[in-house]
């Protein structure tokens, strides 16, 4: 088993909620919880991770820029996954509800010595 990081990008995080009806919100929440629960039950969820605040700072050697960033690149959160290989980790991420809302999951293998 190897470890992978899921980085959740985009998917109309903030403000998106206020445009949804309560039923839609409930649906979206249900999908997320079902998906996470599914990963956990199959032993793929090493760490549920956390959502991230939308603001932040981008620090480079010359400048420090404030968030927020472009909506589609905005990293909304992360989780830690266990899978056989990158292909399986990528396959598992396809069930992520963020994909239905225009977001993406970046799947990165964690380097181990």
């Amino acid at each position: 088993m190897s470890e992978f990081l899921y980085v959740y990008r985009g998917g109309h995080r903030d403000g998106g909620w206020s445009k949804q009806s309560p039923e839609e919100i409930q649906q979206i929440m249900q999908k997320w919880m079902t998906w996470m629960q599914g990963l956990a039950e199959k032993g793929h969820l090493k760490d549920r991770g956390h959502p991230l605040e939308p603001e932040g700072k981008l620090v480079s050697s010359k400048t420090v820029t404030d968030g927020p960033y472009a909506e589609k690149d905005l990293v909304g959160g992360y989780s830690l996954i266990e899978a056989k290989d990158l292909a399986q980790a990528a396959e598992l991420s396809k069930g992520c509800p963020i994909l239905e809302r225009g977001g993406a999951v970046e799947v990165r293998p964690i380097m181990k010595m």
Binding site: S21, M29, W32, P51, G76
Partner: protein
């Protein structure tokens, strides 16, 4: 929750309270996506809202003025936390909800605006849901709410619950608003059953808050809640298995909710104090006549008619007069019912009400005049406001052709 936030922020900061609420909700949802829903989401949300409120109060303490009655308490760190904790305690929140309700029925607002505000602020209905409930465009609902909020924002604090004259007149406005809210859910033209049940449930929740407050628990409050219970008890049988409207005489009475009927009866008994007979007393008593009768035939129609007579004296309305005429038809036969309908004062105001031609059609059919009955049902079909009503009228037109 909005009520509690408004209580600490001051009424003029209603928009801020809504933003904070929205923010708390968004945060909660993001966390729940990862970690699942907690066992008690509403308590969790309340804590989040409280923390967001603390942030806002600290950040903007100098830039904004908050609720005047607690401004001094918020200035000192010694009293800051206890004040916030008190404002978000379960008891305070109930109180705030009541005060918010009384603030929403501002006499400067129309009844529609008052009801829309209560739905929006106290029941958390979106503009879309409100426009659905009242069959108006979302833009119109939005405008109505925005305008009403502007009026409210001129007051800096929530309405004070005390036994003043103002309190009494606002209490009857609250009764009226909750009555309209419930009716909209019960008889409303909305097609979505889910929204309608929700409206009734919210109206009952708010009416229960009134009953639990020593000053607001007046006889009409009990009567109003009794009325709601007795009507709600019949709700499961208003639409039959095929999704068609089912009229009172045809309803399967075994489906009526016995527990709600008992609760309604108990409340009605408790409402029978004091010297004022309100319209809610009378309507609840009529509902009780129906709810307690084992069959439509066994209903005490004579008493129902007497109650309608008194109700008409307190609140003259062609719709009530129509209901009275239907009761007369049950009691004394369809011909008498038709006579009573023709005698209704202001029946021209019923022209757009689908149940007016429907009642005429029903009685003509009972008299055996199928052609006339069919004409009335056809007129009713034109006026029907949703597929359920349309289906019902079509089935009645078919019935005319059959017999």
């Amino acid at each position: 929750m909005i009520a509690a936030l408004t209580r600490v922020f001051g009424f003029h900061n209603l928009a801020l309270a809504e933003d904070v609420m929205q923010d708390a909700l968004c945060r909660a949802l993001e966390v729940w996506k990862h970690h699942g829903m907690p066992d008690n989401p509403s308590a969790w949300l309340m804590t989040t809202a409280k923390n967001c409120a603390v942030d806002v109060l600290r950040r903007e303490r100098t830039a904004r003025t908050f609720a005047p009655e607690i401004t001094r308490l918020l200035e000192s760190e010694w009293t800051f936390r206890p004040t916030i904790e008190a404002a978000f305690g379960p008891h305070a929140i109930q109180d705030d909800e009541l005060r918010m309700m009384f603030s929403c029925v501002d006499p400067r607002l129309t009844e529609e605006a008052q009801v829309a505000l209560i739905l929006h602020i106290l029941c958390g209905f979106s503009v879309g849901e409100i426009s659905n409930a009242f069959l108006c465009s979302a833009a119109a609902a939005e405008k109505r709410i925005t305008r009403a909020k502007k009026v409210l924002a001129t007051a800096t604090q929530l309405f004070e619950l005390s036994g003043t004259e103002d309190f009494c007149s606002r209490l009857s406005a609250v009764h009226r608003a909750l009555y309209l809210l419930f009716n909209e859910g019960y008889h409303g033209a909305n097609t979505k059953t889910a929204v309608r049940v929700e409206l009734c449930r919210e109206a009952m929740r708010l009416a229960t808050l009134l009953r639990d407050h020593p000053l607001a628990a007046t006889p009409p409050t009990y009567a109003l809640l009794a009325l709601m219970c007795l009507h709600a008890a019949r709700m499961p049988s208003r639409v039959d298995e095929s999704g068609s409207l089912s009229l009172l005489p045809d309803q399967d009475r075994s489906q009526w909710n016995a527990e709600l009927i008992r609760e309604g009866q108990r409340l009605l008994e408790e409402s029978a104090t004091g010297d004022v007979v309100s319209e809610y007393h009378l309507e609840a008593a009529i509902a009780w006549c129906h709810a307690s009768a084992p069959t439509a035939q066994a209903t005490n129609w004579a008493q129902v008619i007497t109650l309608y007579d008194t109700l008409l004296r307190i609140r003259p309305s062609p719709v009530i007069a129509l209901n009275r005429a239907i009761a007369i038809a049950q009691h004394a036969g369809p011909e008498q019912g038709l006579v009573a309908i023709q005698a209704i004062d202001g029946c021209e105001r019923l022209q757009a009400y689908p149940f007016y031609p429907m009642a005429l059609g029903e009685l003509e059919l009972q008299c055996g005049r199928k052609t006339r009955a069919s004409q009335h049902f056809t007129a009713a079909l034109q006026l029907a406001r949703n597929p359920t009503e349309q289906r019902f009228m079509r089935s009645r037109i078919e019935a005319c052709a059959l017999r």
